[in-house]
């Protein structure tokens, strides 16, 4: 009897460990994005992929390059303010993206904010965490990166 209880306990523990591994491996780190750098890019939307597990916005810049930016999952975006859905960014829309670039210099990054007209959207995930209050102050002053703002003497809000 004791032996069968031990066996049952071992089986349950093995199951719990296996389930934990599945959960842990289902998400990923954001190590490829440089969260210390926050930069502004302008361009025309060529695609807004409102897909799980991550949304993505693709823009074409004035020099013809296509940049890809990763955002959070759709399930999160529909609850943010302002809320986003698959219609929010359409091909041809002119947008500005505050983003944290890929560390290796390729043409991609993590979304911080997307500015469309007067609206500031925050579809960001863990790859980029810019300060909204700071950027809404810096952007009208023409700063194109966090570093540029800090070098000019701007400070992050408390």
């Amino acid at each position: 009897m004791k032996k069968s209880i031990r066996n049952l306990t071992a089986i349950i523990l093995a199951g719990v460990l296996a389930a934990s591994y599945q959960v842990a491996s289902a998400h990923h780190s954001f190590a490829m994005f440089d969260r210390d750098r926050e930069e502004v890019m302008n361009g025309e939307v060529v695609r807004w992929a409102f897909n799980s597990p991550h949304t993505a916005v693709y823009i074409r810049t004035d020099d013809g390059e296509v940049w890809a930016f990763e955002g959070a999952a759709p399930a999160s975006l529909v609850t943010r303010s302002p809320a986003m859905n698959g219609f929010t960014f359409q091909p041809g829309d002119e947008i500005e993206v505050v983003m944290c670039p890929l560390r290796d210099g390729r043409t991609g990054g993590a979304i911080g904010f997307i500015i469309k007209g007067d609206e500031w959207y925050a579809p960001n995930d863990g790859g980029c965490g810019p300060n909204l209050e700071a950027w809404q102050d810096w952007k009208p002053k023409g700063y194109m990166s966090k570093q540029e703002a800090l070098d000019a003497g701007e400070v992050l809000p408390e």
């Binding site: 990923h28 490829m32 897909n51 991550h54 296509v66 859905n85 960014f89 359409q90």
Partner: protein, 76 residues
């Protein structure tokens, strides 16, 4: 979600994920992000082929992505 007219199908993840595990230059586990045109890149355009067949035909948010652009292709 339903109030927003949307349902997210979790099996989308396998078809749209461009993030993958790899190792860095020191051999340590790391994560990377595939860009359009790179080997293994999957093209997330909305998932009309996996639409839930049990949902009403005209339900908002379930149709092919409104930003699906048949004419656009990533050229490098």
């Amino acid at each position: 979600m339903e109030a927003a007219g949307l349902r997210i199908r979790y099996w989308e993840c396998a078809q749209n994920n461009n993030t993958y595990l790899t190792t860095d230059e020191d051999g340590n586990p790391s994560t990377q992000y595939r860009l359009p045109g790179e080997p293994g890149y999957v093209d997330p355009r909305g998932v009309p082929t996996t639409r839930n067949p049990d949902l009403p035909a005209g339900l908002t948010g379930q149709e092919k992505s409104p930003v699906f652009d048949d004419q656009f292709d990533f050229v490098f």
